[in-house]
């Protein structure tokens, strides 16, 4: 049920675009591959060939499109100071529970709004034993079916402004926030600018703490010297180091030359497919993508058919790091807004859990033994479970939104 003047949105990719894609796929030129390379050098050739074949001849975009259009999707013009108006695409599903907690779900890269799909029924479901949520999942500017900014300088505060204004426009003056990847980074910006007043609590599946410092976190800092980290913390750090060494090529390129890589991603569907598929496999915890080629191709197609084109989505890396000259948390501050962290074993960045306190006012933690970076997609039950625990009766963030405790 749409609320105040919502503009329903249907995806309808023109036939000409589908034909164009098919023509391009038919002209695919593949590289060779080293014998026995496996995954060592990147995505193996047989995977790419198989997926391209399927994309070209087997995948039914119209079927995907129809299913997407069964999601409650809308668009809305949002004014952004200094950037004019951006037309923002979003999913908005209200719970039947009148006092459901408004929740803003923010995706990252190479994610999209589609990551909320499996969470929707779980979060909006009514029930006496758990809280319910009204869920809003936007496509970030430059992703999915949202417009992209046309000028440089669209940074943390601007993304924060968009998502906050969206919630306010939907009548949610106070809400909670869930995100991973850029969803995590932007949470810090949103909370810095709108914490307490609008954002009452937030949760992440990808906490990225800072190293404790003497003045900011004296106890944790001292702990670094006097307490030895347990095996699990050491394992977490080692995993992160490995990711940093071997897995940051895309980050560095996108943060310094997004336009250059953008030409490849815009012109080559198989280039785009490989670039993204690599993350779908390496960043997940044995999610059975091979059984779900439709899921992979649909995911990639959303990038290929995105409103601003796949090249636009890389620019967030440049803007949020100043072209690789600063941290993504630059301009954010530690906030006392309550936050929760869920730890999944195959998340790409993992640091000692005790350091999560450096991020914010940690009130909730949950550990899991399965799941990776695309948590909402891989482990929707676990993630929904954590949100229910955090915001439910007896939970540490119960009732943070006055008058909307979820029951």
């Amino acid at each position: 049920m749409a609320s105040i003047d919502e503009q329903p949105y249907s995806v309808s990719i023109p036939d000409s675009e589908l034909d164009f894609l098919k023509k391009k796929l038919e002209l695919s030129r593949f590289p060779d591959e080293l014998e026995g390379a496996g995954w060592d050098y990147g995505v193996p050739l047989p995977h790419v060939k198989r997926l391209v074949e399927y994309w070209k001849d087997g995948f039914d975009w119209r079927k995907s499109e129809a299913a997407l259009n069964r999601l409650p999707m809308y668009t809305r013009d949002i004014d952004v100071e200094g950037f004019g108006t951006l037309n923002i695409h979003y999913v908005h599903q209200k719970s039947d529970v009148a006092n459901a907690i408004p929740l803003l779900f923010v995706h990252g890269w190479p994610g999209s709004f589609i990551e909320v799909r499996k969470l929707l029924p779980l979060l909006t479901a009514g029930g006496s034993d758990h809280p319910s949520f009204h869920v809003v999942a936007p496509s970030l500017p430059g992703f999915g079916f949202s417009q992209a900014p046309s000028k440089p300088g669209f940074k943390g505060p601007q993304y924060a402004e968009v998502v906050n204004k969206l919630m306010l426009a939907l009548g949610y003056k106070e809400y909670v926030y869930q995100g991973g990847d850029w969803g995590y980074v932007l949470a810090q910006h949103v909370v810095t600018h709108y914490g307490h007043e609008h954002v009452k609590a937030w949760h992440t599946n990808m906490p990225v703490p800072k190293q404790p410092t003497l003045f900011k976190n004296p106890f944790l800092f001292m702990g670094m010297f006097f307490l030895s980290y347990d095996a699990s913390s050491m394992k977490r750090v080692a995993h992160t180091k490995q990711q940093h060494l071997k897995g940051t090529g895309y980050f560095n390129e996108q943060a310094t030359k997004p336009q250059t890589i953008g030409y490849s991603l815009a012109d080559s569907p198989i280039g785009l497919l490989s670039w993204i598929y690599e993350k779908l496999i390496l960043w997940t915890d044995e999610y059975p993508w091979t059984d779900e080629e439709d899921e992979v191709i649909e995911w990639i197609s959303i990038y290929w058919f995105s409103r601003a084109g796949p090249g636009a989505s890389t620019r967030i890396y440049y803007e949020l790091t100043g072209g690789m000259t600063h941290d993504t948390s630059h301009g954010t501050e530690w906030s006392s807004v309550p936050f929760g962290a869920s730890y999944f074993p195959k998340e790409i960045i993992q640091l000692p859990k005790s350091w999560s306190h450096t991020i914010g006012n940690l009130v909730f933690e949950a550990d899991h033994d399965k799941g990776g970076h695309f948590t909402a997609f891989e482990q929707p039950d676990a993630l929904a479970g954590d949100l229910r625990k955090m915001f439910g009766k007896g939970g540490p963030a119960h009732g943070v939104v006055p008058g909307k405790n979820g029951y």
Partner: protein, 412 residues
Amino acid sequence: MSFDSPVKEYPFTLHVPDADLDLLRRKLELAHLPDELQVRAESQWNYGVPLADVKRLVFRWKVGFDWRKFEAEINKLPMYTRDIFIDNFGSLNIHYVHRRSDVLDAIPLLFVHGWPGHFLEVRKLLPLLTEESVDHPSFHVVAVSLPGFAFSEAPTKPGFGAAQYAEVFNKLMISLGYEEYVYQGGDWGHVVLNLYGGRHVKAWHTNCPMTTPKLSTVLAHPSLIPRLFALPFDKDARDAIALTKKHFAVGCGYMIEQATRPQTLGYSLADSPVGLLAWIYEKLVTWSDEYPWTDDEVLEWVSIYWFSRAGPAASLRIYYEMSHGRTRDFFDGTQWIPIPTGVSYFPREIARLPKSWARFLGNVVYQGEHSQGGHFAAHEAPEKLAYDLRRMYGRDGPAFGVVPSRSGYMQR
């Protein structure tokens, strides 16, 4: 040009099949370009290659660029191929340019390109290095296409690293009758010196003086120690360090990706001529010193990658192999050796050692400084590079006569 090569050589004629030209044209006709942020003119290159450049180049490539004309010009170069057997990797068919000087005792010189370069970078140097004169030495020039680049075969198994490249270079020179020779190149040169320096490689010159300073070098050459501490007074050193730091901070996306996931990137570069064009053109412009690239010059350059024997993805693997998937420094395992070394400093080189630290590189006997030129020195400033080589190896030079009985001059 002299054909009195002492050994049998197998001439190579480049002929890209019509079907390949046709596929390229069809892909260019389906080119799908991104948009671009509205950026001020002076910040145009901040985000990568400007859209206007790519649009113009793609259009030219599709409509005006005449590959057959350029191919015919390339075929005027003395090109050959030869099977070189590499331990554990079997035989690779290697493409190279070989021009002998009329000077019988010319110095054999191996010219090695880097990425995203190729054998054509030697083109402008050839007449300069091979010409005869009483005033300067002459060279027999061999310019090899690295395995996996241009028209050389690529290795098919993992692990083709520094030692293998060095083996190819050395075996090629020896097979051409050059038991002893000198080496010109940057980037990937260090290991060949370690393995064959002294016995085969008699001297080395680079326009890209880079290495990771090692403690062992400092200890062996104590004169370096005061130089390391002189930073506050050594403006050149501070500039060099700042330049190098900047390159590694904001100019290294390509390098990290190629050193860790060359295959993933390779799908884009193999499939999209537009993507390949942007990827390479960015370096041609940002790494050169305002060199006035013509569109056809760029397109010829990129076409070599597009039509390369092993495809553009293969050329990326060198970064992975030389760094063991980014687990080691490129210069790991190389040692300082005493063979005479020459360096040319070009102001727009992307990264370099401070001049006062040149000794980290090797037994530096010659340093040339220039006020113009960048990373692609042989292409941008061939007369300057030739000048340095002539000074280094000439009669009054510090490396004169390094190759026994090959003085570089006519016997009179």
